[in-house]
């Protein structure tokens, strides 16, 4: 285990230098800040846990517990509190525990940082937040059963409302889902969180139109990738291909992911023109190359080789055409690569050098 300098002048110097220019004075808790008796090794932790499991220790008799045992049992207790249905005493306890200061630590594997073994405060906060989301969910559900518009008029940009709305939607009937979705889809512009909810509805009642509207409305965010993944799992190829192609041609932020799903569709459905045109795209060219490689017909092979030997082709096109041959992993494609090398048909020296090192 490493030690930190006692009041390391270097550490302080750096910390204060940054504080001066940025108003930041935060530093993490360091190992030196913690009494060594509060630091547990992995084997000590295992031993403590086995001891607790083999004992009849209980939070009811706190005086019999050391700090480790107390925090272990407390953490276990909070973890199993049902956040959907908090009693007032549980609520008060969680609130009090939200500022609990941990007393037991282990050491970071790579350096002198203490790590709380049981993050009781965070767990308590998380339970309280889940409770609030649950309360909001109940409220939103009431709104929905009264009137779809009342539900739709909520401020989904409020994070709590948005989370609760996602939960409501995951439990609605098909009929309710359709009512919400049909109303949303008529809007000319959907903001981000509305689009995410619509995408979620698309997964519930498998509506290509919902997926399309949701995915083409989104311009960033992790949720779009998830919705696209769901769509790929749920829609028939004839429905999904239209949406994939729209995302690809719009160069959506989801376009590369869409291309890789597209590669799994039967190749007779592929739009070869679109794919070959994309080979010149700096960002999406390699994804298009992969799609073409997954079914390298004689026609596509000829077109690929033509790009490589055509002196009008850009570097990007040539590189992606070569990637097409590499990703095909077929005897035909490998032979084509060997032929290109043997006959010096790769127009860029650095590319030819890299290709010559490929294990074919």
């Amino acid at each position: 285990m490493k030690k930190v300098l006692q009041v390391s002048c270097c550490t302080l110097m750096i910390a204060y230098a940054v504080m001066g220019s940025n108003g930041v004075n935060a530093r993490p808790l360091l190992l030196n800040d913690i009494d060594p008796s509060r630091i547990f090794s992995e084997s000590q932790i295992s031993l403590e846990i086995v001891n607790i499991e083999n004992s009849k220790l209980s939070l009811q008799k706190p005086t019999q517990l050391n700090d480790f045992q107390y925090e272990y049992l407390l953490h276990h207790k909070i973890k199993h509190i049902n956040a959907a249905d908090l009693s007032s005493s549980e609520h008060a306890e969680l609130k009090a525990l939200s500022s609990y200061q941990s007393k037991t630590y282990r050491v970071h594997e790579e350096g002198p940082l203490p790590i709380k073994i049981f993050d009781i405060a965070s767990l308590a906060k998380s339970k309280l937040f889940q409770y609030e989301v649950g309360q909001q969910e109940k409220y939103l559900y009431e709104q929905l059963t009264n009137n779809v518009n009342a539900f739709l008029n909520q401020d989904f940009n409020n994070p709590l409302t948005f989370l609760a709305a996602q939960k409501v939607i995951s439990n609605v009937s098909d009929q309710q889902a359709k009512a919400i979705g049909d109303s949303m889809i008529t809007k000319s512009v959907l903001d981000k969180n509305q689009a995410v909810l619509l995408g979620q509805l698309g997964s519930i009642i498998v509506q290509p139109a919902y997926f399309k509207k949701a995915l083409t409305s989104l311009t960033d965010g992790a949720e779009g990738h998830k919705i696209l993944e769901n769509m790929n799992l749920m829609l028939e190829a004839t429905d999904s291909i239209v949406i994939f192609e729209e995302l690809i041609q719009d160069k959506s932020y989801l376009a590369s992911q869409a291309l890789l799903y597209y590669s799994k569709l039967p190749s007779y459905m592929h739009n070869s023109n679109m794919l070959f045109n994309l080979l010149s795209d700096e960002k999406l060219g390699s994804s298009a190359a992969f799609v073409i490689s997954q079914n390298l017909s004689a026609n596509n092979l000829a077109q690929t080789l033509n790009i490589i030997s055509n002196n009008q082709s850009s570097r990007v096109q040539v590189a992606n055409a070569l990637m097409t041959l590499k990703s095909a992993q077929s005897i035909t494609a490998n032979n084509a690569i060997k032929d290109l090398l043997q006959n010096n048909k790769i127009p860029y020296v650095d590319m030819a050098k890299e290709v010559s090192q490929w294990a074919l």
């Binding site: 930190v4 940054v18 530093r27 295992s46 998380s126 992790a222 590369s256 890789l260």
Partner: protein, 642 residues
């Protein structure tokens, strides 16, 4: 209709159920806790296929194809297979730079090594490292910082070292095996204090199968960050094959760590000036301190600059400085102790132990589940990548070395060049080649153009000179004319401004030289109120140039000896008093002739006839005194910094 999802979920669940239920597995969920589930409090990230950066984590196969395609497309990025993993997968390092390994003066370039994904479960690492690779390529023609780095340095990046382990974590992205000593039947209490296989695999995979349910091998593997030469075996657990930090049977026993050494040779090793091993989590830098005070001072200084840049972008990456001489067998310690280069273990966020900021997964509103910091949510990773790339780029720029003056030009109001000097490379270093050395006139206005060996400034979207994110350097160049007049020494500042920096092409006396903002162009008037003792002849005016680069490194005050990196510190890096060190200073190598007829005739001196006398002796004594005092002050400064 909804049944389709349910069917998918059932299928996924069935797939994940161990066929021979030997090792107990736990599934990470967003919100549900049970004896086989653990809630993170946010959606569990699952790797996605995409050949561009996304709001999420990419699969290994996507990352690899993306790296390979970038390398093929761009001559500035070359793949080199540096070894194979235990399970025989190629480990590839990528070398960024121009075709030769030589800088603009024909010297072997300085090198940097960035290692990624040595620990399998640290998914933040390959994303952060890939972002750096993407920026080096996307900005390769910026005519500024990145192009300078590609043309004058050799950057080696190894994005995924522990491929076998990384694939195992992606094979079971939401599943993990239990800690040792407990089974499903033995305990009703919470377990997983030390989760070890599946999503939480850290080590490599020798004699480990890819089936999470196999009980016998779930603890096996070697911690590739404990397999290095220095401090080998010093920690409890380093010799226990079941330990999370098992160091392996011998030093560098693992093909993966051997591959890292091969990657270092691409530098080559003796040209390395920076090493970073990229981990998660904690939002700190662990900074080794071998017994080398100059190396440590430089390292800690740049760690502070790294922190300042990330802090300005909203993430305080705090440098945790080791005790001198104390270490563990990490790769960061290896490069610090073996090669004396600035090196560290970067622990990407989430943070840990910062007051007012929740730890680990709770930082993202999660439950604070043990080890959840290894599972950052999809929604965080794009921000994380963006907060770290500029800081890492700044480290390259800093360690490329201090700038020196390349050329000085002075032209009169009719655009006739009256002074021209260039530092030219020769076998011993550089010499100042003065091609025009005409006499200047006091009271007349001239144009002054000075070019430097690297881009010195960056600009914002509006084209204005700004600090590099989070840094605070003197943006305005300090230029002065000094010399010896009849009434003593003089030192007259030339008025300068940020607008003197040149980002238009044009070269000497009209724009930048090689890179945007590598040159200044300004007008100045030669002062006429300098006392002279005779109206004939000339007085020498020294041109003093003092500029910091955008990372805060001052000029090499004596360009005739070429700065390099030796034994963990700068060599041939002089300050204004021509003393070697790590600080640099004012370059006063340029002597201009100014006609005495245009300066101020000093009556007293001209009366005494020929100058000299007691007065001059007094001045000489005063100058000597000042000079000695300055040396002493500088000595003290340097000592204190060390």
């Amino acid at each position: 209709m909804g049944s389709l999802i349910k069917k998918t979920l059932i299928a996924a669940a069935a797939f994940s159920l161990p066929c021979l239920a030997l090792s107990e597995t736990l599934t990470y969920t967003e919100n549900t806790n049970s004896s086989t589930e653990a809630a993170l409090g946010y959606p569990v990230p699952l790797p996605k296929d995409s050949l561009v950066a996304i709001d999420g984590f990419r699969t290994y196969s996507s990352l690899k194809m993306h790296h390979d395609a970038m390398a093929l497309q761009h001559a500035e990025m070359t793949p080199v297979v540096v070894g194979q993993t235990r399970n025989n997968r190629d480990i590839t390092a990528f070398v960024f730079g121009d075709a030769d390994n030589l800088d603009s003066e024909g010297k072997v370039e300085p090198a940097f090594l960035i290692n990624g994904t040595i620990h399998a479960r640290e998914w933040q690492s390959p994303e952060v490292v890939t972002e750096l690779m993407e920026r080096l390529i996307e900005e390769k023609s910026d005519q500024g910082m990145v192009q300078y780095l590609l043309e004058n340095t050799n950057i080696v990046i190894l994005p995924v070292l522990n491929i076998d382990g990384f694939l195992q974590t992606q094979r079971y992205p939401n599943q993990v095996t239990n800690s040792p000593g407990t089974t499903a039947s033995s305990s009703r209490l919470d377990k997983f204090a030390q989760p070890r296989d599946g999503r939480m695999r850290r080590k490599n995979m020798p004699n480990v199968d890819e089936d999470i349910s196999t009980n016998s091998d779930r603890l096996l593997g070697i911690d590739l960050n404990r397999n290095s030469k220095h401090f080998f075996g010093v920690q409890q657990g380093n010799n226990d094959p079941n330990s999370l930090i098992y160091g392996g049977p011998s030093i560098f026993s693992e093909p993966e760590t051997q591959a890292l050494l091969e990657a270092a040779k691409l530098g080559p090793e003796n040209k390395l000036r920076f090493y970073q091993d990229t981990h998660s989590f904690s939002r700190v830098l662990f900074v080794p301190q071998p017994n080398n005070s100059r190396r440590n001072a430089i390292t800690n200084s740049i760690a502070g600059k790294f922190q300042a840049t990330t802090t300005a972008l909203g993430a305080n990456y705090f440098p945790v400085i080791d005790q001198v001489g104390s270490g563990i067998p990490t790769t960061a310690d290896y490069f610090a102790y073996e090669h004396q280069v600035p090196s560290w273990t970067l622990e990407i966020e989430p943070p840990q132990g910062f007051q007012g900021e929740p730890d680990g997964g709770a930082f993202y509103g999660g439950t604070g589940l043990s080890h959840s910091g290894f599972i950052a949510p999809d929604s965080a990773i794009a921000r994380i990548r963006d907060q770290l790339a500029p800081a890492q780029m700044l480290m390259f720029y800093h360690q490329a070395g201090p700038a020196h003056v390349k050329s000085v030009r002075i032209a009169d109001s009719s655009d006739n060049t009256v002074y021209a000097a260039d530092w030219q490379t020769n076998s011993n270093g550089r010499s100042l080649n003065i091609t025009v050395d005409n006499v200047l006139q006091g009271g007349q206005q001239y144009k002054l153009w000075i070019s430097f060996s690297k881009p010195m400034r960056i600009r914002n979207a509006n084209g204005n000179i700004v600090q590099y994110t989070g840094q605070s350097v003197s943006l305005t160049p300090a230029i002065a004319l000094s010399g010896q007049s009849a009434s003593g020494t003089f030192n007259r500042s030339i008025t300068t401004a940020n607008s003197n920096w040149q980002n238009q092409s044009g070269g000497e006396l009209s724009g930048y030289d090689t890179y945007k903002d590598d040159a200044i162009l300004l007008n100045f008037t030669v002062p006429s109120n300098i006392n002279v003792s005779s109206s004939t002849g000339n007085t020498n005016f020294n041109l003093n140039i003092n500029v910091q680069d955008l990372a805060g490194l001052s000029l090499d005050a004596n360009p005739s000896t070429v700065v390099d990196w030796t034994n963990g510190a700068w060599s041939n890096y002089e300050n204004a008093s021509n003393q070697l060190g790590d600080v640099g200073g004012t370059d006063a190598s340029y002597s201009l002739k100014v006609s005495n007829a245009t300066l101020t005739l000093n009556a007293t001196n001209s009366a005494s006839g020929g100058g000299g006398g007691v007065f001059s002796v007094l001045i000489l004594i005063l100058m000597l005194f000042l000079c000695v005092q300055k040396l002493v002050i500088n000595n003290v400064c340097i000592k204190r910094k060390i």
